[in-house]
Symmetry: C2
Subunit: 429 residues, 2 copies
């Protein structure tokens, strides 16, 4: 088949006409499908039924060390929960704080602390006029929103197939006002990229001009593989320690997409110095986290293997959903040469790149057809995709049948957008 | 009996000798009693057994409005939980955000937001050089620690039997750099004072020079009465609204001392404008709070009456503990005229004032005898009690028997401290 760019004007007319009819049929169908956010499906939540009442008066409310989890105490969490995250992240449990239900709030708080009180004993970022942050793009809108909220100017660095463009990163960190970067190192949001060993090593070796440089290592999808033959992420903490650079990295994870979003447990892993700095602030913020919920998790998950086995059940639900979307994209768009997309091996997103200048229009068309996708532009700082081409698809929540229809809507919208762009080009040419 | 100040030198010798023997006996007994923090006793936690598994797959995980509490969503909490706090605080549920497990973190976050982003659209407090905060003394150390952390200079205002010294407050708020104050309006920490109607009205009527003045209304002991004939606190939100002053007050409460400390639910109540400002920030911080835990609470507590009935069970446990402490204090110290103390009708503390300059020494003696009390000085900003006289006693956790012994230790220590002070006076005089 021909690429769309090779179509004659007459062929383009027919193509556009046919796809308009198709599109109108979708509009008439009155769809209501949401692919906007990385939200687990109900059948995924059902997998975690055991966590609802894994702590009762029969099981007891005491931690392994004899702490009554119903009462105040243990700011850094119960030991078994710290150990569980230690296993998940492959770090010493003494370098883990088991916290509440959200890793996002831990990242927000960490940045907030750096702004008002600085990192590593250095001046508060808020007092270092012009403090900047590296934004790997496309990326996670909630990361960018935190940086924007605190007035950290974001500098885009492009994501490659192996992770952030390290040449660019190594150049930028020569500026002492560049204070850090957000990384989703495994199955990145939205590209599904797992940083290569080389990228992790180059990150670990970095010698930023800013002594208070901090990488927010958001390991959100640490165990969120679709296949047994899954991506392997090099351990940043161990790698950084080789060069005495462990203070540059603060790692975050949670069970939000393992057990219950909003009712899981989140954790921080960091160097001794960072853990001390973070826990000193935490001691002013909170008396203790929800240890009963930590205990609920530890009563079911005795070790890493239990979590891994649980994740296989998630994978069995998610794999066919991602494959359904990819299959429609492959079939409908490959030959036309008007888009490219990812085939992730884990995580929560497919990243679709349509023709430059077309993404917003595709988003509008999807909306008209009753399909909600992530706000176009959201994968870039300030919500502005400089080339207006990236669209994040979140296939986890809808059913496979819904996803097939939704992806057809997207493909039809992408075709119409591409045809419109081509027509403009022809008119101008 | 005679006051200690009326003792002859010889009588004082005997008094001191006898109390030293008594004190040494306590030291020899190897006590280990902790009266430092407002921590519920185990039998109080047992009252809330029903909350451990009040949400199971049998009860279902859906809120009244049909939201699956296991998943993301509802940043402001489930409606029934907002309504429950609305009833507890006597405010419209639309003005309530039901949050996570800690009201302290909500207060910390609110102050933090005021520092970096300002209140009510005004300049960030951090950019208003010399921003100050009123500290009602004696007060809650964790409040003071937050203000200190953010560099808000604290100005002491004395607590009276009816609440803060309002003449002083009304004078201080003429300074536009005085940005707010912390209040524990019912059964204040540590004095157990409930603000009188007059004080609440005067607070509500305040017209601070700072348009971004904010009162942190920490209603921590809103239902924590020991007696049916309990203190009645005038509703600050309704009172403030009469004068169009509702934006000056942000109210906080939690079930930490109703169900489980650390595993309860906390809430914010505020004006429409403040709720909008707070929830806009929350939307960057967190996707949603632990709605399953909110649901656990709402499955057991259907309404205010259920909570009130539950609080009567707490009262039955706490009342004899407080009475035991007061009875020993009354018996051992009343005649000597070397101390005064409170007889609270609710809350978590007894406030003991020993002779000026003696509190630290009393604290040291208690420590020698194996009794841990709240760090002396902690009830004042920067941990410095200007007259070194206030001691906070937290009688909730130990048993009645332990409390009797502990209070005897305290009384003996207070006697020795008073005798020492008197001897110095005599020597100097």
């Amino acid at each position: 088949m021909k690429k769309l760019s090779e179509y004659t004007p007459e062929e383009l007319d027919v193509f556009e006409y046919e796809n308009k009819i198709k599109f109108n049929a979708f509009v008439d169908a009155g769809l209501n499908i949401n692919m906007a956010r990385g939200k687990p499906a109900r059948e995924q939540l059902d997998l975690s039924e055991a966590f609802l009442n894994s702590v009762t008066h029969h099981t007891g409310t005491f931690s392994n060390s004899g702490e009554d989890c119903r009462n105040y105490g243990l700011l850094c969490g119960i030991e078994e929960c710290r150990r569980l995250f230690g296993e998940i992240l492959d770090v010493d449990y003494n370098n883990v704080i088991a916290c509440g239900n959200s890793s996002l709030v831990l990242m927000y708080d960490y940045i907030s602390q750096c702004m008002t009180h600085g990192a590593g004993g250095h001046a508060p970022w808020a007092k270092q006029t012009g403090a900047k942050f590296i934004a790997v793009v496309p990326g996670y809108d909630r990361h960018f929103a935190i940086a924007e909220h605190f007035g950290l100017e974001m500098i885009d660095v492009e994501m490659t197939r192996n992770g952030p463009d390290m040449d660019k990163v190594e150049e930028l960190i020569k500026d002492p006002l560049v204070k850090g970067m957000f990384c989703v190192p495994k199955y990145s949001n939205p590209d599904g990229v797992t940083y290569s060993d080389e990228v992790v090593t180059r990150l670990a070796k970095m010698t930023p001009a800013a002594p208070d440089f901090r990488v927010i290592w958001d390991n959100a999808y640490v165990l969120h593989d679709f296949y047994d033959d899954h991506a392997k992420l090099k351990n940043i903490m161990k790698e950084a320690a080789k060069y005495g650079h462990e203070d540059y990295f603060v790692e975050f994870a949670s069970t939000s997409k393992i057990t219950f979003p909003g009712s899981g447990v989140a954790a921080i892993a960091a160097s001794n110095r960072n853990i001390n700095e973070i826990s000193a602030r935490l001691s002013l913020q909170i008396i203790s986290y929800d240890k009963l919920n930590q205990l609920r998790h530890c009563h079911v998950f005795k070790n890493l293997e239990d979590v891994q086995n649980h994740m296989k059940l998630h994978a069995a639900i998610l794999r066919p959903k991602f494959l359904a979307v990819e299959e429609v994209l492959d079939r409908e768009l490959t030959d036309l040469g008007i888009a490219d997309w990812t085939h992730p091996k884990g995580g929560y997103f497919i990243s679709l790149n349509v023709n430059v200048g077309s993404a917003k229009y595709v988003g509008e068309l999807c909306k008209q057809a009753g399909l909600t996708i992530t706000k176009v532009g959201a994968t870039f700082p300030y919500g502005k995709d400089p080339t207006d081409s990236n669209i994040r698809l979140a296939p986890t929540c809808p059913s496979v049948e819904e996803l097939k229809i939704a992806t057809k809507v997207i493909c039809t919208a992408a075709k119409l957008a591409a045809a419109r762009a081509l027509r403009h080009e022809m008119a101008e040419g």
